[in-house]
């Protein structure tokens, strides 16, 4: 019964774009984490944008997965930006007591891309 939906990862220029469209169970979250890291390695991407605007909740497990991925990506010289978090999700995450160190967030995809562009320019200067 356990359907393994793979979450697609799209490469555009130097960036990977991941749009999470399903409520993830824990295994799927872990799978996505390694999938993204493998894609960074394969493509040499400099940034990853993860759109979570469809997610209606982020609990401690998914929160930890996202921040863990940001740390691992940083070691691989790629920046992770979480895009489109719903306000209710943001409020709940803070109340849950979950800090997500090293995770950058942007209101939407466009702002997320600007954030990554700025960061890469800074590194190149």
């Amino acid at each position: 019964m356990l359907q393994e939906k793979r979450i697609p990862i799209i490469k555009i220029g130097d960036y990977l774009i991941v749009s999470i469209q399903v409520d993830m169970h824990d295994k799927l979250a872990i799978q996505l984490q390694s999938q993204i890291l493998e894609s960074i390695e394969k493509t040499g991407a400099k940034g990853v944008l993860i759109d979570i605007s469809v997610l209606e909740m982020v609990d401690s497990f998914i929160g930890r997965m996202l921040s863990g991925m940001a740390s691992m990506a940083a070691i691989m010289d790629a920046a992770v930006v979480i895009v489109g978090m719903q306000p209710a999700v943001a409020i709940t995450l803070v109340e849950l007591g979950l800090e997500m160190p090293g995770v950058d967030t942007a209101l939407n995809m466009e702002k997320g891309i600007e954030m990554l562009n700025r960061r890469i320019r800074q590194i190149n200067e």
């Binding site: 169970h25 824990d26 209606e56 209710a88 409020i91 709940t92 849950l96 007591g97």
Partner: protein, 141 residues
């Protein structure tokens, strides 16, 4: 037991079982559905769904699953949406420790119980070693 887990005057909205990992997702979606139906706002829907998700994961990881009851009822003069998680797992030896941030005995992150408590209006836990754990959370409507 000073705090009765169930009240006969409450209205049973749903009863579900957590056995597999996918059940955690399915049942938390049902929590969201009932929270919305009962009239909770979007932030409270998210709070109770997230709190429930933490408890369901605990049941799945530590107790091989368990039962979930969803009720609507009055508690301490509040109209409430009530979720009760009952498992027959190993139980919790030191509840005080388990309620501390960052404390975990297993694969969990240690945010389960204390995080869940912060997100709801009422939190009640009772546990007997080798018999199981019951956690009840409420959100005022």
């Amino acid at each position: 037991m000073t705090d009765p887990i169930e009240n006969r005057n409450w209205t049973r909205l749903d009863k579900q079982t957590i056995q597999a990992e996918m059940d955690v997702v399915k049942v938390r979606q049902l929590v969201r559905y009932h929270a919305k139906e009962i009239g909770l706002g979007i932030v409270d829907q998210t709070r109770i769904t997230t709190a429930a998700s933490e408890l369901f994961r605990n049941m799945f990881l530590y107790a091989e699953g368990g039962d979930v009851l969803m009720d609507a009822g009055i508690y301490n003069d509040h109209k409430a949406f009530i979720i009760t998680c009952i498992d027959r797992g190993p139980g919790i030896e030191d509840i005080e420790m388990a309620m501390k941030d960052g404390y975990s005995t297993g694969d969990g992150m240690g945010y389960g119980l204390p995080g869940s408590k912060r997100l709801v209006d009422d939190f009640y836990i009772e546990s007997t070693v080798n018999q199981g754990t019951t956690v009840r959370i409420m959100k005022w409507i």
